[in-house]
């Protein structure tokens, strides 16, 4: 399994990026995280599962509650690559190119 690719897939989703940002400042339970989104609770759970599987989030048991916190080490590992930055621009420029290839002067 290509874990690195999974990490990049994980942060490609806007909701998952928002979750990472949310738990960056404090550990939170799944319920507390879900309350920040209009998305259905099971959808948020699925996102949490993906983020946990690729080790961007870690779980800690506290009494009966499970808290999620960010795995800073893994985040740094991801961050060390310039590739996601290049990909972001490549995506934008691909869109631009496709758009303009079909461009017809309107007037």
């Amino acid at each position: 399994m290509n874990l690195r690719r999974d990490v990049f897939q994980a942060i490609a989703d806007p909701t998952r990026r928002a979750i990472l940002i949310l738990v960056a400042s404090q550990s939170m339970t799944a319920g507390a995280i879900a309350s920040n989104f209009d998305t259905a609770r099971p959808t948020v759970s699925k996102h949490l599962q993906i983020l946990t599987e690729c080790e961007l989030l870690e779980q800690a048991q506290n009494g009966r509650e499970i808290y999620y916190h960010i795995n800073a080490k893994k985040m740094k590992e991801v961050a060390d690559f310039i590739e996601p930055f290049r990909n972001m621009w490549d995506d934008r420029f691909n869109k631009l190119e496709a758009l303009m290839k079909n461009y017809k002067p309107g007037r």
């Binding site: 940002i21 960056a24 490549d90």
Partner: protein
């Protein structure tokens, strides 16, 4: 697949250079930067304002499907030369990232190919590295400086 977009970032420098060759005539490439409706489409953001002139300014805003604003950016345009050059500042609002300066140069390669060189200068080496390290942060606008806290953890 050929990698058309190149990013050149030297260690310890507060700048980066992004280059891209397009299968487009120079005029069409420039139009994609000039026409607010087209900019909105490929940047995936709403263009609130785009004054293409010397001393003009611009503003972008992105909302989520529920209408909440998730990203706002703005800048001024010190230099605007059609089919040749745009110099502009770029600032992501409500983020800890300082304003950056962008030099965009448009070049004709052949009748139907062109090249864009985007030279971005950051406030400091640290500011550049933070932006590079958090590509996914671009496009997110945050209250409470949570982004800053992530950035601090990465140091």
């Amino acid at each position: 697949m050929e990698r058309k977009t190149k990013v050149h970032a030297e260690d310890g420098k507060q700048e980066i250079v992004i280059t891209r060759e397009f299968d487009l005539p120079l005029e069409l490439l420039f139009k994609a930067y000039e026409d607010p409706e087209i900019v909105a489409q490929w940047m995936g953001t709403k263009v609130l304002k785009l004054e293409n002139k010397k001393h003009g300014s611009y503003a972008f805003e992105t909302s989520d499907p529920h209408g909440n604003v998730v990203f706002r950016a703005n800048g001024t345009i010190p230099e605007f030369i059609p089919n040749k050059k745009i110099t502009r500042t770029f600032e992501m609002e409500n983020t800890p990232f300082p304003v950056q300066l962008e030099f965009l140069e448009f070049e004709k390669l052949a009748d139907d190919t062109s090249k864009l060189t985007m030279h971005i200068v950051y406030k400091s080496v640290e500011a550049r590295d933070q932006i590079l390290k958090l590509p996914f942060a671009q496009g997110i606008n945050l209250a409470h400086n949570r982004l800053q806290e992530i950035v601090n953890k990465l140091k």
